[in-house]
């Protein structure tokens, strides 16, 4: 009798667990490029400026119930950069800045995702700009409304770590070293998979 109760309990627990994972086994993987943005903030002579990448592609799959399978890959078209300054847009694809001819894309590939509790996560990955790859860590907030999910996050890079701005532009008094990159990725869950 006692063992029966234990068995019953186990079964109940197991089915409960299964139920839980069934409910949240919603994989978000349909990126909505038109609603997603990759922007950056920087300072020039103390003046805050906003820029963005107009062209980029994202592949992403994220299951809140199974973080180990989470994956993200972002590729930005360097020539599509909008620096917030008409002068800057022409100069910035040049050799001293992004050298868009030699390095037409910049990219991010995730290496891991861990939860920070609630809807907060920490993504780690490799960021490649101008042929140079460095590890980055970015706090991310994921908000889902039904089958529509939004990733919001950002991180700061030092531009000189990637040789963004060479020669006279290594001067940090004019264009500051810190660049805050922000991403807003809208991704829907595959329909019918609940």
């Amino acid at each position: 009798m006692e063992s029966l109760i234990i068995l019953f309990r186990h079964t109940l627990l197991l089915s409960l667990l299964l139920l839980c994972s069934q409910v949240s086994a919603l994989e978000f993987n349909r990126v909505q490029p038109n609603e997603s943005t990759v922007t950056f903030d920087y300072k020039q002579m103390g003046v805050p400026l906003k820029g963005k990448f107009s062209k980029f592609s994202v592949q992403l799959s994220f299951d809140p119930a199974n973080l180990t399978t989470a994956q993200a890959r972002l590729e930005m078209d360097v020539a599509s950069i909008d620096t917030g300054s008409a002068d800057g847009d022409d100069a910035v694809v040049g050799k001293l800045w992004f050298n868009a001819k030699a390095y037409p894309t910049a990219g991010f590939v995730s290496t891991g995702l861990k939860t920070l509790g609630g809807n907060r996560y920490e993504a780690t990955g490799k960021l490649t700009i101008k042929g140079k790859t460095l590890d980055i860590v970015a706090p991310v907030i994921f908000q889902a409304d039904g089958s529509r999910g939004v990733f919001e996050g950002g991180f700061t890079i030092k531009r000189l770590d990637y040789a963004i701005g060479e020669g006279e532009w290594t001067d940090l008094g004019t264009v500051a070293n810190d660049i805050q990159i922000k991403f807003h990725i809208v991704v829907n869950a595959a329909p019918g998979k609940k």
Partner: protein, 179 residues
Amino acid sequence: MVERYNNTAIALHWLIAMLVFAAFPLGVYMHDLPLSPTKLQLFSYHKWIGVTVFVLAVVRVVWRATHTPPALPDSISRLQQIGSHIVHGLLYVLLFAVPISGWLMSSAKGFKTVWFGVLPLPDLVGKDKALGTLLTGVHLSLNYMLLLLVVLHIAALIKHRFIDHDDVLTRMLPKWNRS
């Protein structure tokens, strides 16, 4: 014995004159430089000077509103006195209009003006390419007017000093420079 402007007014006049004489050629020189750190610096210095002129112009108008400037000598004809008031009035207007047009133009082009790289001024207009081009024209035109008026201002002082031999200039000279 000539009645002079007081020290505050004299200091404000010459300080603003110096700043305008720095900002004007800087603006002419910098505007079509190729992009470089120097260009970014010069643009910032130009804007910082402009904001400073604006602030000093406010102080100056407050001074002017609370003080009576020394009267012009009677030797100057009524017509010339009216002409002088008009030129001075327009100069005051431009000490405001030129910096304000530059500030708005900067905002329209997407660059916040940050005084000395520390104090951000609000953007009264948003980023707007067409408006930026328009305000560039306005800023330029106002500066040509300023140039014209400053030339008139200096021509008048030369005339008073070397043709009329009156004391008009002395009123605006510091005491230690009295001739």
